[in-house]
Each structure stands twice: as structure tokens, then as C-alpha cells.
């Protein structure tokens, strides 16, 4: 594709801290290269703001290669912007043309309170994982990887679920602010593998309980999460999670 430059109008959510009310601020940016990433455009704008003695826009990012899940921008009405199966950091400016107006908001959900500008607190996800998203093994020599046979299809499905990077776009897109796609990825990933078997039932019960405590909504299968997930986690996992919960809830006394 031809390289080109563009001038854009950005409307960005600015909020000093969690108790500030916050508002949109409009910025004109010029000579943005079509080769830049979306975050690089923000870097350019921030450098200018610093030079002007203004507060730069706070946003989350880390790897900038689509694997850490830190970047989180709700761009023109869609988490992670217009491209399919893509993170904000991997969105490139060639998705836009000269003169476009882009509205950038933080993830919105009570469970993800805004810390500053576009940065939200996603510790609720960590708490869910800490409630059961692991396997308990005593330390010692690492076991040979091939000692435990796993069916290829199951291994593939578990791997696909494990691709979830915990970005929270599913929550941001969901009309119910439900974290079910995230949770279902974490539960499925371990439920499909023999290593996850010993804690299979208690895990799903504890994780659902924690998810409810964190204040996420209930899933109504609108499938908006799947459409925006950068890792294309399938809603099939939600059905699997529900089955795990049904079996565990009906058969376990504790949990």
C-alpha cells in the first residue's frame, strides 16, 4: 500500500484520577504517517504536549506486539479499533484517512475503574485468576513433557483458549460488562488438559464466585465479545464453562 500522511482530529478522554469527573479533549494532529501504529501516533501527540508544558495522555501499553494485553483503547465505538483479531498496539494508521475524527475512550465497566485518562484498573482479572486459574504442583524436577499423553484436538483447543491475553476487550464490548469470555478461556484452557483435572470442579466454582464479587455482569450470549477479541477466543468456551459449572455445582458440596 502507498505510504501517505494525514491530519486528524482526536477526541480523547482525559481524567486526572479516579475521583475526577473527566471530559473529552480535542487535539489536532498533523503529518501522521500511514506506517505508524496507533500508539506511535499517541507518542507523537504526547511529545508535543510535553513540549507545550501540558500533561501527556496516560495510556497502557507494554509489548506493543499484540501479546501482553496491556493496551486498551475503545476507538470509535469499538475496543481495539476497527480491525478484526487485533490489539490497539497492532492497529496501524493506514486504517484511517486524512481528515478523519477519532474518538478514544477508556474501557468502561464498574469492575474496571479509570485510574487516569485511558488507563483502567484491571486487577479484577488478576483476582479471578488467583481464585483458581492455576494448577497446584509440588516443586521438584520438571516432569518430562511427553510423560502425559494428550489428544491432539484437546491440546489444540486448550492452546486456543490459552491465547487469551487478558486485555479486557470482551468486558469493554459487552452490554452486560460480563467477563465470561475471559473466564471461559481460563477455565477451558485447564479443563481440557489432564493437568487441570484434579482441581477441575473447585476451580470453576471459585472463579465464577470471584468474577461475581468483582462486579462483572451476567452473560446473555450476545457474542459481541467474540467479535472484538484480539485472540479470537470463541464463545464456545462460554458454553464449556457453563457445562463445567453445571456439573461441578450439582455434584460438589463445597466450593
Amino acid at each position: 500500500m502507498e505510504h501517505y500522511t494525514m491530519n486528524l482530529t482526536l477526541k480523547v478522554w482525559r481524567q486526572k484520577n479516579s475521583s475526577d469527573k473527566g471530559k473529552f479533549e480535542t487535539y489536532q494532529v498533523s503529518d501522521i504517517s500511514s506506517e505508524m501504529s496507533f500508539l506511535e501516533m499517541f507518542d507523537v501527540l504526547n511529545e508535543r504536549l510535553i513540549k507545550e508544558g501540558k500533561e501527556p495522555i496516560a495510556f497502557d501499553h507494554d509489548c506493543r506486539e499484540g501479546i501482553c494485553g496491556m493496551c486498551s483503547m475503545y476507538i470509535n465505538g469499538r475496543p481495539h479499533g476497527p480491525w478484526q483479531a487485533n490489539t490497539t498496539c497492532q492497529l496501524h494508521m493506514r486504517a484511517y484517512k486524512d481528515g478523519d475524527t477519532i474518538v478514544v475512550e477508556p474501557w468502561r465497566a464498574n469492575a474496571f475503574p479509570v485510574i487516569k485518562d485511558l488507563v483502567v484498573d484491571r486487577r479484577a482479572f488478576d483476582n479471578i485468576v488467583q481464585a483458581g486459574g492455576f494448577i497446584s504442583v509440588n516443586t521438584g524436577n520438571a516432569v518430562d513433557a511427553n510423560a502425559m499423553p494428550i489428544e491432539k484436538d484437546k491440546a489444540d483447543a486448550a492452546f486456543a483458549a490459552a491465547a487469551c491475553i487478558g486485555c479486557g476487550a470482551c468486558v469493554a464490548a459487552c452490554k452486560n460488562s460480563s467477563a465470561m469470555l475471559f473466564l471461559s478461556a481460563k477455565v477451558s484452557h485447564l479443563a481440557l488438559l489432564p493437568q487441570g483435572e484434579p482441581e477441575r470442579k473447585s476451580r470453576v466454582l471459585k472463579m465464577v464466585q470471584q468474577m461475581d464479587k468483582e462486579g462483572f455482569g451476567a452473560c446473555t450470549f450476545t457474542e459481541a465479545c467474540e467479535a472484538v477479541c484480539p485472540k479470537e477466543i470463541s464463545v464456545t468456551n462460554i458454553s464449556r464453562l457453563n457445562k463445567e459449572y453445571l456439573v461441578a455445582g450439582l455434584t460438589e458440596d463445597k466450593g
Partner: protein
Amino acid sequence: MKWSEFFTSSVGKKFVMAFTGLFLISFLIVHVGINACIFADLVDDTDNGEMFNKAAHFMGSSYLIRIMEIGLFVGIIAHIVQGYMLEFQNRARRKQGYAVSMGSQGSAWYKKSMGLLGTLILLFLIIHISHFWVPSRITYAETLSEVSYYNGKPMHDVFSKMVEVFKSPTWGLVWVILYILGCFSLAWHLLHGFQSSFRTLGVHNKKWVGVVKGLGVAFSIIVPLIFALMPVSIYFGWVTNN
């Protein structure tokens, strides 16, 4: 895990919606089957609602069915109450909304509008129950005439009640339109609800999800269509009591 916890978690509440939803779907099958008896008049001009009246009589005559009817009301009320609670709780999970909404990107409008569609169905149900269920179960003495078919006991002429409602010179057309709108709401509600209930209850294998989706589309079109054809057929005089 206690039963109370099982049904009150976010996943458990959805089980309640799915179980009651599927129960109501099974009721629709019975309901549409019995009411479709009015179409006997299309093939046999002397039927005049006899087949339907007999079926309706049967549905009111056995204690077992009357007890199931109570179960049906419990199911409907549970579905409505839980549905509204979920809708409001879920809405409250995002106190501050977005300036630019997602619209229907990635998710069709009806999947996001189950609360609205359910409310329309509820409004329709209020009209519908007061049209037919109340006369045939509570106020029949004043509102229903009786017919007797050869060698049979007299029974309520619910069919004439249908004709009276939909052929009423003042309100007939209004009722027919409202009934069609009710069937439309039901169709969209079912289009999401049918497949979603199964998937909420854990159906995740590709081949079964395919079956459930296919059946769901067929059910959501066929059942509301047959229902809608009833007031229409009576209004246009295709099905008559003479």
C-alpha cells in the same frame, strides 16, 4: 456448593433463564398444536371450530393439566422476574457509558434487545390472557356460550369467542394487528432465546450447536407464523363458525 448459591451466581441465574425458557418453548409447541385445530375448518367446512373446542375442552378438563397450568404460570413469572432482574443488574454494571456506542457491530440488535422484546411479549400476554384465558377459566358463566356436539356433553364455545374478538367490527382490526406484533416480538425473542438457552446450559460441541441453531431458526419462524395466521384467518373469514 449450596443450592441457593448455585442458582444465584451469575451463571446460575442464566440457568434459571434457560430452564424456564425451554419449558416455555415446550409449552408453545402444545399451544400452537391445539390452536392449529381451528384450521380444520379450512379442509372441512362443517368443522366450525369443533375440533378446536374439543381440544380446548380437554385442556381444561383434567386435573393433571390444570396442575401443569399452575406450573406454567410459575415458569412464566420466574422467567419474567429473573429476566428483569438480570437486565437491570447487568445495566448497572456500567455506570458510565460510552460516548460512541458499539451499535450492532459483532452482535445483532435482537440479541441485545431481549429485555425490550420480552416486555413487548409481556404486554401482548396481558391482552391475550384477558381475551381468552380469563373467559375460559374464570368468567365463563357470563362470557362464553356453550355448544354440544353429537352425543357429547355441552362444552364452552371458545372458538366463537375467538371469532367474536377478531371479527369485532370496532376492535377486530386493532386486535389482529396487535396479535401480529406480538408474534413478531416472539419470533425475534425466540431467535436468540432458543439457541442461547441450549448454549447457556452447556451445549458446545460443534455438531450440536449447529443442530440447535438450525432448529432455533426454524422454530422461531414456524411457530409465530402459525400463531399469527390464526387471527388473520379469522379476520378475513377463511376460518368461520358457520
